[in-house]
């Protein structure tokens, strides 16, 4: 079974994407660290964590695509899993500051001293160890996704209703994390990080390493998603997306399959968030903002739902565009983003990758064999999977 999954993960497209990512993982640090300043290909220091941030966003978009593009679950709260992974990493980084904080308390982070904490809250224990933080980066988003998904999918909450409660979930977390007495730094969040695994977070070499780690993590996520999507489980997920009740009548436990996809997706999002935090240097409750989750939906839609490469391209392009255009026209960027989503929904419902793919396949005679992985982007996917009255009759 394991070898089969590995083989499935290595389909032609995934190999291309992974090779490209590994190449980038080498090329960007090389351009920054090795090439001398003044060299035409030299990359300035600020660009490395910026590109690293784009990669973590791309990973978040890929996570969303696994549930939305392939399983029809439009989650409007996926940034919550990203932020939870980020907070777990942030807690580790806070504990690494030690006595170097403003108040020089060897155990308590600055904000706790400021808020008159006498001792470390119990849930901060263990976060001085990287392995424990790493475990929490995976377990916390997974646990939330499991409990939330278990309740929602078992009660057969689908379509718009599911999207609304995912929004409510991330909004509730936003409000909770804003509170000082929750013990996560309230409004200011966690910041002023010093070291990660003993290396200075600000150092160019550490940043290059974090960039490479983001690229490798994204490559790994691509392999995991490809393995799932190319398996029979992936076909069942698409079946659920297209005709949920029909899939039930075939004997599949739709709620379990959705739950699996949701938890895997939350874990990928959490890891992305954990890589995001040391590169931007801060995590605060703003990351739970419902607007963030909606932006992820836009990246995925722009790149192309129901494809592996689509959300990555969407995440990178839209965010690079955001960086450029917020500099050029800071006041109008949000209109551009909204306009982009309207444009894509109306004129390119399959996104960039889906549109290119159907252009390409029109020039090619249809395939006769079924040995190749299926073209899942080939069909118009409804933005929100509605219960199908046809199958229900």
């Amino acid at each position: 079974m394991i070898t089969q999954l590995v083989l499935r993960a290595l389909d032609r497209r995934a190999v291309w994407v992974v090779s490209a990512l590994l190449l980038v993982a080498l090329a960007i640090p090389f351009a920054n660290l090795v090439l001398p300043e003044g060299h035409p290909l030299h990359l300035p220091n600020y660009a490395v964590p910026l590109f690293g941030k784009y990669l973590t966003y791309a990973m978040l978009a890929l996570a969303l695509d696994l549930v939305w593009g392939y399983c029809g679950i439009l989650s409007l709260g996926h940034a919550a899993f990203f932020a939870l992974g980020g907070y777990a990493m942030g807690m580790y980084l806070m504990r690494q500051i030690g006595a170097r904080g403003v108040y020089a308390n060897p155990v308590l982070p600055d904000f706790m001293v400021f808020l008159n904490y006498k001792e470390l809250p119990w849930f901060w224990n263990g976060f001085d160890q990287f392995w424990f933080a790493a475990l929490m980066i995976v377990l916390v988003p997974a646990a939330l996704a499991f409990v939330f998904g278990f309740l929602a999918f078992r009660s057969r909450v689908t379509g718009v209703y599911l999207s609304i409660i995912t929004q409510a979930m991330t909004y509730a977390l936003l409000l909770a994390f804003f509170r000082n007495d929750l013990g996560f730094g309230g409004n200011n969040g966690l910041t002023d990080f010093k070291d990660i695994l003993g290396f200075n977070v600000q150092a160019t070499t550490t940043r290059a390493a974090l960039f490479a780690a983001s690229a490798i993590a994204l490559a790994f996520a691509v392999l995991v998603c490809t393995a799932i999507v190319n398996s029979k489980l992936g076909k069942v997920m698409i079946a659920i997306r297209d005709a949920e009740s029909r899939t039930r009548f075939l004997g599949y436990r739709v709620d379990n399959i959705k739950l699996f996809a949701f938890v895997v997706s939350a874990v990928i999002a959490g890891i992305a968030g954990a890589l995001y935090v040391p590169q931007v240097g801060i995590i605060n409750p703003g990351e739970f903002d419902p607007g963030n989750s909606i932006e992820v939906v836009i990246w995925t839609a722009v790149g192309g739902r129901g494809t592996i490469i689509g959300p990555i391209i969407g995440g990178l392009l839209v965010n690079a565009g955001k960086s450029v255009f917020t500099g050029l026209w800071p006041d109008y960027w949000l209109y551009a983003l909204g306009g982009l989503f309207v444009f894509v929904t109306l004129f390119m419902p399959k996104g960039i990758v889906g549109s290119l793919r159907s252009l390409f396949s029109r020039r090619k005679p249809p395939r006769q064999d079924n040995s190749e992985p299926l073209e899942t982007g080939a069909k118009d996917i409804p933005i929100i999977a509605e219960p199908q009255p046809g199958a229900a009759e």
Binding site: I228, V236, A239, R248, G251, L374, E393
Partner: protein, 252 residues
């Protein structure tokens, strides 16, 4: 109308089943029996409760009252859709519902009787037997040439056949077939009748159909439903000679 003693020998046993939606009695004390390897054709006017009956058997709707037993011993009113499907009850819908975004082959592979769990589907590798079985079904439903095409591209009749093929792949003990020949040409209708008769040699089949010539082609026991209960039963000739059936359904 039915004896509790012969319940254990039946494939499908409905006794006194009633269900109402917002005060409308969709089924009213409905009792139907299907024996192993038997085919039953159900006719009746629109709104007679034919589809509601299928919803109850497949676990989509819970009856307000009455017994529903499968294979003489399994109480279907306590199970959900997936559990009932896995017991061996396959359903073909009125409107053909195939997975349009996937190939004909994948549609059959999804339906093929195999473990349905998350991890068993994740690690599924098509065995030679599975491939042979799918090819055999493709042969039966005459879609071999189109196995790599998306199901969305099939004609209406072909979709109907693909759905019957998916039923076969599920290898059920009981097939519920809702209007299998809607939208088919005359020759396709005859072929479908032959196919269903063939299937009924080894399985129980319940066919709901409006097309009288098709029901005649099936040449099997007929129940006429109206207003949620059985109006008449017997051969097609007996049923269609019944004055109440003529008045309520066939017309004069």
């Amino acid at each position: 109308m039915t004896d509790a003693t012969d319940k254990f020998k039946t494939m499908l046993y409905l006794n006194g089943v009633s269900v109402s939606f917002d005060g409308f009695k969709a089924l009213n004390n409905l009792s139907i029996i299907v024996h192993p390897n038997e085919m039953l054709a159900i006719i009746g006017p629109n709104g007679a409760g034919k589809t509601t009956m299928m919803d109850i058997i497949t676990g989509k709707t819970r009856p307000d009252d009455g017994e529903v037993f499968f294979d003489g011993k399994v109480d279907l009113t306590r199970l959900d859709e997936a559990a009932i499907a896995n017991l061996g009850i396959g359903r073909k819908f009125q409107k053909p519902t195939v997975f349009e975004g996937q190939t004909v082959w994948d549609n059959l592979e999804l339906a093929l009787k195999k473990p349905r769990g998350v991890f068993s589907t994740l690690g599924y590798v098509a065995a030679n037997d599975d491939i042979a079985r799918i090819n055999e079904i493709l042969e039966t439903i005459r879609l071999s040439a189109r196995k790599g095409d998306l199901a969305a591209g099939l004609s209406h009749g072909q979709k109907q056949w693909l759905e019957i093929g998916m039923l076969l792949a599920q290898d059920p003990k009981l097939l519920l077939v809702d209007e299998p020949v809607a939208g088919m040409t005359d020759s396709e209708t005859v072929e479908t009748a032959t196919l269903l008769k063939d299937i009924a040699k080894t399985r129980s089949v319940v066919v709901v159909e409006h097309d009288m010539s098709f029901v005649r082609e099936l040449g099997t026991r007929v129940s006429c439903l109206a207003e949620g209960s059985v109006l008449a039963e017997g051969t097609l000739d007996q049923v269609s000679a019944n004055p109440v059936v003529i008045e309520r359904y066939l017309g004069r």
